[in-house]
């Protein structure tokens, strides 16, 4: 007999196969996974949430996770999703969202009257990773449902198992978006956002880090706006970086990324304007952009290796950063072949990123001293200045609390980078006043 742990382990292992697979995911395959995920989440908290206590942060997230699951689900005849249960039983009670929640004994093998509303479960012999993970998840949902009448683990055990499944569900959603039909992308996008947000809210509770709100988490998909892929990448990065810096204690690696990305953004704009049929103003702007890029690069190199606030960067920010990198690289690869209208358009988009960058670098630097003064920064003892108190930690390769003194050179480099970026941005603003101004400045 399989245990919950064995099935969670199997789902995790199968997630690796899904990740490495290039096979397209059909809408039917996604629907079956989606229905079983929902069934697992509902079964986890039990009927009316009776299996998890009220008032516990993790239990509240589990309850919200189930209650706010994106709807509508495809289910037979508006009823709960099917499962391989040989007994036809009564249906469960409708939830507040109008989705029929599956309860113990509520799932039927019989086909729905309207086949378009039916969820087709994968065959047990189907060797494709998405089918196998759906089968494993279905078995887990069944087992969790049965556990209703047995001794159940405490909330932390439930939360840990659920977090593992959420991480796997996030990967399946991302994989489906990458390999599935575009026309059916809404559902995996919504479910992927939902489970990633829940996981991000749950993770700090499992790791003793500052709590993040489930409802308040960002969703890059909500800000995926713009006419071109470059515009969309800049827009997503701008939003994700703002949310990242809104945290009470941000991830230090996210702070670090601001200057790293800054060097990339300013160097890209400098290349775009270099090839322009320019006037003196453009050449002046280019010189400032090159100077800003060098200062940001120096600030990047001044980073103390391993410096951490023990907070992880968000998945949204990491995804947006990758998108921005690819968009900027595409611009740089084509910068000598743009037509003048294209160049104007690209300069405007990257100029917007430079304007945002200037604010982000200032905001990121503002965290350094308060975090150090608040003893919220740590680094490997071998990477910071030595002192008799740190000798033992250096010998054992441990992390130590970082004082402001340890990062004062870093802070100075960031101040220089901030000034250079502001100077380049100010020059962009002034360009708007001239009759031949290039429109990159208009967004500043």
């Amino acid at each position: 007999m399989s245990t919950v742990n064995q099935l969670v382990e199997r789902i995790t292992v199968l997630t690796r196969e899904v990740r490495s697979s290039d096979e397209p995911v059909t809408e039917m395959q996604w629907d079956a996974f989606d229905a079983n995920l929902h069934r697992f989440l509902v079964g986890t908290i039990g009927p009316q949430g009776s299996r998890v206590p009220t008032g516990e942060p993790c239990a509240d997230i589990l309850r919200e996770l189930s209650d706010r699951y994106p709807h509508p689900l495809r289910s037979p005849g508006g009823r709960s999703p099917e499962r391989n249960d040989d007994s036809a039983r009564e249906l469960g009670k409708p939830s507040t969202q109008g989705v029929t929640l599956p309860r113990r004994g509520a799932l039927r093998l019989v086909a729905a009257p309207d086949p378009r509303e039916s969820v087709t479960l994968p065959d047990a012999t189907d060797g494709r990773p998405i089918a196998r993970i759906t089968c494993a998840l279905g078995a887990l949902a069944d087992l969790v449902d049965v556990l209703e009448y047995q001794q159940v683990p405490d909330t932390s055990g439930v939360a840990v198992n659920t977090a593992h499944v959420l991480a796997s569900a996030a990967i399946v959603a991302r994989h489906t978006l990458a390999c599935g039909p575009l026309a059916a992308g809404d559902r995996p996008l919504a479910v992927g956002n939902h489970v990633e947000s829940a996981l991000a809210a749950m993770q700090p509770l499992l790791e003793s880090a500052p709590v993040r709100s489930f409802r308040g988490l960002p969703s890059v998909a909500d800000v995926d706006i713009g006419d071109t892929s470059l515009d969309r990448a800049v827009s997503a990065w701008s939003y994700a970086s703002e949310v990242e810096l809104r945290a009470r204690i941000p991830s230090t690696e996210s702070l670090h990324m601001m200057v790293n990305q800054g060097a990339h953004i300013t160097a890209t704009l400098a290349e775009v304007v270099r090839e322009a049929k320019g006037d003196d103003d453009r050449r002046g702007a280019r010189a400032d952009l090159v100077h800003a890029s060098q200062a940001l690069g120096a600030a990047d190199k001044a980073w103390v290796p391993g410096l951490t606030s023990l907070i992880k960067p968000s998945a949204d920010f990491i995804t947006a950063s990758r998108g921005l990198f690819l968009a900027l690289e595409e611009v740089r690869a084509r910068s000598d072949r743009f037509t003048e209208p294209e160049r104007e358009q690209v300069a405007q988009s990257v100029g917007q990123a430079v304007a945002t960058l200037s604010r982000r670098v200032a905001a990121a630097r503002a965290f350094l001293q308060p975090l150090a003064d608040g003893k919220a920064l740590y680094a490997p003892a071998r990477q910071v200045g030595g002192s008799p108190e740190r000798l033992n930690d250096q010998l054992k390769g441990r992390y130590v609390t970082v004082e402001y003194f340890d990062i004062k050179d870093l802070d100075a480099a960031w101040r220089t980078a901030g000034v250079a970026t502001q100077s380049a941005t100010a020059l962009l603003v002034r360009r708007t006043t001239g009759p031949d101004s290039w429109r990159a400045a208009t967004i500043c």
């Binding site: 969670v8 990740r19 932390s156 670090h256 990324m257 690069g297 998945a315 990758r322 690289e329 390769g397």
Partner: protein
């Protein structure tokens, strides 16, 4: 409520960190275009920050085999996949996904 990786998982996470550090360093040092190399190295460091830190480093850690950025990313991913599922952090699959995406960028788009 809190949960920490097992010693075995910690050792593998430490090794994955070393491979990711090596990938970032290789990107910064060997990329033909230093702007691209530095930016891609930053992305690798950002992905590495999703893994827990490993306290207590060894004095003499065995040298990693030489390789390019993709080699180190692939080794990091293989190392993460060796972690017994229930012994690592609960969001391990999401961390591995970020490394997987960087590997795809390094091999398919030649980002590194």
């Amino acid at each position: 409520m809190t949960r920490t990786p097992s010693p075995r998982a910690n050792a593998l996470i430490g090794l994955a960190h070393r491979h990711l550090d090596a990938a970032a360093e290789t990107s910064q040092l060997t990329a033909p275009d230093h702007i691209t190399g530095d930016a891609f190295g930053g992305l690798i460091q950002l992905a590495a920050a999703t893994l827990p830190i490993v306290d207590e480093a060894l004095d003499e850690e065995p040298a990693l085999p030489a390789g390019d950025v993709a080699d180190h990313l692939r080794s990091a991913l293989d190392t993460l996949d060796q972690i017994p599922p229930l012994e690592g952090p609960t969001d391990l699959q999401l961390c591995a996904w970020h490394v997987h995406e960087l590997l795809r960028m390094a091999t398919q788009t030649g980002a590194a």
